[in-house]
Protein backbone atom coordinates (compact mmCIF):
# COMPACT_ATOMS: atom_id res chain seq x y z
CA UNK A 1 0.00 0.00 0.00
CA UNK A 2 1.44 3.34 -1.07
CA UNK A 3 1.88 6.31 1.21
CA UNK A 4 -0.98 8.05 -0.57
CA UNK A 5 -3.33 5.11 -0.05
CA UNK A 6 -2.21 4.90 3.51
CA UNK A 7 -3.13 8.54 4.11
CA UNK A 8 -6.51 8.16 2.37
CA UNK A 9 -7.37 5.15 4.48
CA UNK A 10 -6.42 6.87 7.75
CA UNK A 11 -8.34 10.03 6.79
CA UNK A 12 -11.42 8.01 5.86
CA UNK A 13 -11.38 6.16 9.17
CA UNK A 14 -10.76 9.33 11.17
CA UNK A 15 -13.57 11.20 9.39
CA UNK A 16 -16.13 8.41 9.71
CA UNK A 17 -15.51 7.28 13.23
CA UNK A 18 -16.42 10.57 14.87
CA UNK A 19 -19.43 9.75 17.01
CA UNK A 20 -21.21 11.62 19.74
CA UNK A 21 -21.88 9.18 22.53
CA UNK A 22 -23.45 10.99 25.46
CA UNK A 23 -22.89 9.56 28.91
CA UNK A 24 -26.18 8.11 30.24
CA UNK A 25 -27.60 10.16 33.07
CA UNK A 26 -26.89 8.70 36.49
CA UNK A 27 -24.29 6.25 35.20
CA UNK A 28 -21.82 7.05 37.97
CA UNK A 29 -24.50 6.54 40.62
CA UNK A 30 -25.47 3.20 39.09
CA UNK A 31 -21.85 2.05 39.02
CA UNK A 32 -21.43 2.96 42.69
CA UNK A 33 -24.68 1.19 43.59
CA UNK A 34 -23.50 -1.98 41.85
CA UNK A 35 -20.19 -1.74 43.68
CA UNK A 36 -21.94 -1.29 47.04
CA UNK A 37 -24.13 -4.32 46.37
CA UNK A 38 -21.12 -6.41 45.43
CA UNK A 39 -19.21 -5.23 48.51
CA UNK A 40 -21.99 -6.16 50.89
CA UNK A 41 -22.11 -9.70 49.46
CA UNK A 42 -18.40 -10.13 49.14
CA UNK A 43 -16.59 -12.49 51.56
CA UNK A 44 -13.65 -10.14 51.23
CA UNK A 45 -15.76 -7.38 52.71
CA UNK A 46 -17.10 -9.60 55.48
CA UNK A 47 -13.59 -10.72 56.34
CA UNK A 48 -11.89 -7.41 55.91
CA UNK A 49 -8.46 -6.91 57.49
CA UNK A 50 -9.95 -4.94 60.39
CA UNK A 51 -12.08 -7.91 61.30
CA UNK A 52 -9.74 -10.66 60.24
CA UNK A 53 -6.62 -9.60 62.17
CA UNK A 54 -8.21 -9.62 65.67
CA UNK A 55 -10.19 -12.75 64.81
CA UNK A 56 -7.04 -14.60 63.76
CA UNK A 57 -5.19 -13.46 66.90
CA UNK A 58 -8.04 -14.68 69.08
CA UNK A 59 -8.22 -18.01 67.27
CA UNK A 60 -4.45 -18.50 67.59
CA UNK A 61 -4.54 -17.73 71.33
CA UNK A 62 -7.45 -20.11 71.87
CA UNK A 63 -5.64 -22.85 69.97
CA UNK A 64 -2.50 -22.36 72.06
CA UNK A 65 -4.48 -22.62 75.30
CA UNK A 66 -6.30 -25.75 74.16
CA UNK A 67 -3.06 -27.39 73.04
CA UNK A 68 -1.08 -26.39 76.12
CA UNK A 69 -3.54 -27.47 78.81
CA UNK A 70 -3.90 -31.17 77.98
CA UNK A 71 -0.13 -31.41 77.63
CA UNK A 72 0.38 -30.21 81.25
CA UNK A 73 -2.29 -32.57 82.59
CA UNK A 74 -0.86 -35.55 80.76
CA UNK A 75 2.60 -34.83 82.11
CA UNK A 76 1.29 -34.65 85.66
CA UNK A 77 -0.70 -37.85 85.31
CA UNK A 78 2.26 -39.64 83.81
CA UNK A 79 4.54 -38.53 86.61
CA UNK A 80 2.02 -39.74 89.24
CA UNK A 81 1.69 -43.07 87.48
CA UNK A 82 5.47 -43.57 87.35
CA UNK A 83 5.91 -42.75 91.04
CA UNK A 84 3.04 -45.08 92.04
CA UNK A 85 4.30 -47.85 89.84
CA UNK A 86 7.81 -47.49 91.28
CA UNK A 87 6.51 -47.79 94.85
CA UNK A 88 4.54 -50.93 93.95
CA UNK A 89 7.58 -52.48 92.30
CA UNK A 90 9.71 -51.71 95.38
CA UNK A 91 7.12 -53.30 97.70
CA UNK A 92 6.95 -56.36 95.52
CA UNK A 93 10.71 -56.76 95.49
CA UNK A 94 10.95 -56.45 99.32
CA UNK A 95 8.46 -59.30 99.91
CA UNK A 96 9.87 -61.74 97.39
CA UNK A 97 12.18 -64.74 98.02
CA UNK A 98 15.91 -64.13 98.27
CA UNK A 99 17.66 -63.96 95.10
CA UNK A 100 19.21 -67.22 93.98
CA UNK A 101 22.59 -67.01 92.44
CA UNK A 102 23.45 -69.10 89.38
CA UNK A 103 24.39 -72.72 90.22
CA UNK A 104 22.81 -72.50 93.67
CA UNK A 105 20.09 -75.01 92.68
CA UNK A 106 22.68 -77.75 91.95
CA UNK A 107 24.41 -77.20 95.30
CA UNK A 108 21.11 -77.47 97.18
CA UNK A 109 20.26 -80.68 95.30
CA UNK A 110 23.64 -82.23 96.15
CA UNK A 111 23.11 -81.43 99.83
CA UNK A 112 19.68 -83.05 99.74
CA UNK A 113 21.13 -86.19 98.09
CA UNK A 114 23.82 -86.35 100.80
CA UNK A 115 21.10 -86.32 103.48
CA UNK A 116 19.23 -89.15 101.71
CA UNK A 117 22.34 -91.27 101.40
CA UNK A 118 22.91 -90.88 105.21
CA UNK A 119 19.36 -92.03 105.89
CA UNK A 120 19.77 -95.08 103.60
CA UNK A 121 22.99 -96.05 105.39
CA UNK A 122 21.31 -95.88 108.77
CA UNK A 123 18.40 -98.09 107.56
CA UNK A 124 20.79 -100.64 105.95
CA UNK A 125 22.92 -100.93 109.09
CA UNK A 126 19.85 -101.41 111.29
CA UNK A 127 18.67 -104.23 109.07
CA UNK A 128 22.08 -106.02 109.32
CA UNK A 129 21.87 -105.87 113.04
Amino acid sequence: MSENEDKRFIDFIAKNTQVDLPKPEGEWREIMQTIEQKKSRSPHFLFSKWFLAPALTLAATATLIVVQRPATTTDTELADFIVTAQIEVDDTLDSSEPEISPGQDEVNEDLANDDLEGEYEEIYLSLLE
Partner: protein, 161 residues
Amino acid sequence: MSDDFRRIYTETEAYVRKSLYWMLNRETVDDVVQEVYVKVWSSLEKFRGQSSIKTWVYRIAVNCAYDHLRKEKKFASDELVDPPDEVVNLEDGRIQQQLLKKAIARLSAKQRVVFVLFYVQGLSIEEVASVEGLSEGTVKSRLFSAREFLTRELKKYGVDL
Protein backbone atom coordinates in the same frame (compact mmCIF):
# COMPACT_ATOMS: atom_id res chain seq x y z
CA MET B 1 -9.53 5.26 46.85
CA SER B 2 -12.97 6.58 45.95
CA ASP B 3 -11.52 9.90 44.72
CA ASP B 4 -8.94 8.08 42.59
CA PHE B 5 -11.66 5.90 41.14
CA ARG B 6 -13.83 8.91 40.30
CA ARG B 7 -10.88 10.57 38.57
CA ILE B 8 -10.11 7.42 36.54
CA TYR B 9 -13.75 7.22 35.46
CA THR B 10 -13.85 10.89 34.45
CA GLU B 11 -10.62 10.67 32.47
CA THR B 12 -11.23 7.41 30.63
CA GLU B 13 -15.01 7.00 30.29
CA ALA B 14 -15.37 8.73 26.89
CA TYR B 15 -12.49 6.75 25.40
CA VAL B 16 -13.80 3.45 26.75
CA ARG B 17 -17.33 4.17 25.49
CA LYS B 18 -16.15 5.06 22.00
CA SER B 19 -13.92 1.97 21.78
CA LEU B 20 -16.76 -0.29 22.86
CA TYR B 21 -19.12 1.42 20.41
CA TRP B 22 -16.90 0.32 17.52
CA MET B 23 -16.38 -3.15 18.94
CA LEU B 24 -19.88 -4.09 20.10
CA ASN B 25 -23.57 -3.72 19.42
CA ARG B 26 -24.67 -0.16 20.25
CA GLU B 27 -27.38 -1.39 22.61
CA THR B 28 -24.96 -3.19 24.88
CA VAL B 29 -22.30 -0.47 25.05
CA ASP B 30 -23.59 1.42 28.10
CA ASP B 31 -24.07 -1.77 30.10
CA VAL B 32 -20.56 -2.91 29.26
CA VAL B 33 -19.15 0.50 30.24
CA GLN B 34 -20.67 0.02 33.70
CA GLU B 35 -19.29 -3.50 33.86
CA VAL B 36 -15.83 -2.19 32.98
CA TYR B 37 -15.81 0.33 35.84
CA VAL B 38 -17.13 -2.16 38.38
CA LYS B 39 -14.18 -4.37 37.40
CA VAL B 40 -11.82 -1.41 37.58
CA TRP B 41 -13.01 -0.74 41.14
CA SER B 42 -12.65 -4.33 42.27
CA SER B 43 -9.17 -4.64 40.74
CA LEU B 44 -7.84 -1.22 41.73
CA GLU B 45 -5.98 -2.57 44.77
CA LYS B 46 -4.14 -5.03 42.53
CA PHE B 47 -2.94 -2.35 40.12
CA ARG B 48 0.86 -2.26 40.50
CA GLY B 49 1.66 0.61 38.20
CA GLN B 50 3.52 -1.57 35.69
CA SER B 51 1.62 0.17 32.90
CA SER B 52 -0.16 3.52 32.82
CA ILE B 53 -3.55 3.59 34.49
CA LYS B 54 -5.19 4.32 31.12
CA THR B 55 -3.57 1.30 29.47
CA TRP B 56 -4.73 -0.79 32.41
CA VAL B 57 -8.33 0.47 32.12
CA TYR B 58 -8.32 -0.11 28.35
CA ARG B 59 -7.12 -3.65 28.94
CA ILE B 60 -10.07 -4.29 31.24
CA ALA B 61 -12.40 -2.73 28.64
CA VAL B 62 -10.96 -4.93 25.88
CA ASN B 63 -11.36 -8.05 28.03
CA CYS B 64 -14.99 -7.14 28.71
CA ALA B 65 -15.47 -6.56 24.98
CA TYR B 66 -14.04 -10.00 24.19
CA ASP B 67 -16.39 -11.57 26.77
CA HIS B 68 -19.38 -9.95 25.08
CA LEU B 69 -18.16 -10.74 21.58
CA ARG B 70 -17.93 -14.39 22.54
CA LYS B 71 -21.54 -14.26 23.74
CA GLU B 72 -22.86 -12.28 20.82
CA LYS B 73 -20.76 -13.88 18.05
CA LYS B 74 -21.83 -11.10 15.76
CA PHE B 75 -22.72 -7.52 16.44
CA ALA B 76 -24.28 -4.46 14.91
CA SER B 77 -25.01 -5.90 11.47
CA ASP B 78 -28.64 -6.50 12.45
CA GLU B 79 -29.18 -2.90 13.46
CA LEU B 80 -27.48 -1.41 10.43
CA VAL B 81 -29.40 -0.52 7.35
CA ASP B 82 -28.03 -2.10 4.23
CA PRO B 83 -26.95 0.56 1.76
CA PRO B 84 -28.91 0.75 -1.51
CA ASP B 85 -27.53 -1.68 -4.10
CA GLU B 86 -26.92 0.80 -6.88
CA VAL B 87 -26.77 4.36 -5.72
CA VAL B 88 -24.75 5.15 -2.66
CA ASN B 89 -24.35 8.78 -1.81
CA LEU B 90 -20.84 8.64 -0.48
CA GLU B 91 -20.93 12.32 0.33
CA ASP B 92 -23.45 11.52 3.04
CA GLY B 93 -21.33 11.08 6.14
CA ARG B 94 -24.00 9.05 7.91
CA ILE B 95 -24.10 6.44 5.13
CA GLN B 96 -20.33 6.24 5.06
CA GLN B 97 -20.25 5.72 8.80
CA GLN B 98 -22.83 2.95 8.59
CA LEU B 99 -20.88 1.31 5.79
CA LEU B 100 -17.76 1.44 7.87
CA LYS B 101 -19.47 0.06 10.95
CA LYS B 102 -20.95 -2.79 8.94
CA ALA B 103 -17.56 -3.59 7.47
CA ILE B 104 -15.87 -3.47 10.88
CA ALA B 105 -18.56 -5.79 12.22
CA ARG B 106 -17.43 -8.39 9.70
CA LEU B 107 -13.88 -8.41 11.02
CA SER B 108 -12.92 -11.16 13.41
CA ALA B 109 -13.02 -10.16 17.09
CA LYS B 110 -9.21 -10.11 17.32
CA GLN B 111 -8.79 -8.00 14.20
CA ARG B 112 -11.60 -5.67 15.23
CA VAL B 113 -10.18 -4.89 18.66
CA VAL B 114 -6.71 -4.15 17.28
CA PHE B 115 -8.17 -2.07 14.45
CA VAL B 116 -10.30 0.06 16.80
CA LEU B 117 -7.46 0.70 19.23
CA PHE B 118 -5.04 1.71 16.48
CA TYR B 119 -7.08 3.42 13.76
CA VAL B 120 -10.08 4.71 15.67
CA GLN B 121 -8.49 5.56 19.00
CA GLY B 122 -5.03 6.42 17.75
CA LEU B 123 -2.95 4.26 20.07
CA SER B 124 0.56 3.42 18.91
CA ILE B 125 1.53 -0.14 17.92
CA GLU B 126 3.42 -0.41 21.20
CA GLU B 127 0.41 0.74 23.22
CA VAL B 128 -1.94 -1.66 21.43
CA ALA B 129 0.51 -4.48 22.10
CA SER B 130 0.58 -3.52 25.78
CA VAL B 131 -3.21 -3.33 26.09
CA GLU B 132 -3.70 -6.65 24.32
CA GLY B 133 -0.70 -8.40 25.84
CA LEU B 134 0.60 -9.24 22.35
CA SER B 135 3.88 -8.81 20.51
CA GLU B 136 4.18 -5.82 18.21
CA GLY B 137 4.60 -8.20 15.27
CA THR B 138 1.24 -9.84 16.00
CA VAL B 139 -0.43 -6.44 16.26
CA LYS B 140 1.03 -5.37 12.90
CA SER B 141 -0.06 -8.61 11.29
CA ARG B 142 -3.64 -8.26 12.56
CA LEU B 143 -3.76 -4.62 11.48
CA PHE B 144 -2.59 -5.52 8.00
CA SER B 145 -5.24 -8.24 7.62
CA ALA B 146 -7.96 -5.99 9.02
CA ARG B 147 -7.07 -3.18 6.67
CA GLU B 148 -6.94 -5.43 3.62
CA PHE B 149 -10.33 -6.82 4.50
CA LEU B 150 -11.92 -3.40 5.09
CA THR B 151 -10.53 -1.98 1.89
CA ARG B 152 -12.07 -4.88 -0.05
CA GLU B 153 -15.41 -4.59 1.76
CA LEU B 154 -15.70 -0.85 1.27
CA LYS B 155 -14.78 -1.18 -2.39
CA LYS B 156 -17.92 -3.27 -2.87
CA TYR B 157 -19.90 -0.14 -1.98
CA GLY B 158 -17.91 2.10 -4.22
CA VAL B 159 -15.59 3.46 -1.59
CA ASP B 160 -12.21 3.31 -3.25
CA LEU B 161 -9.44 3.93 -0.78
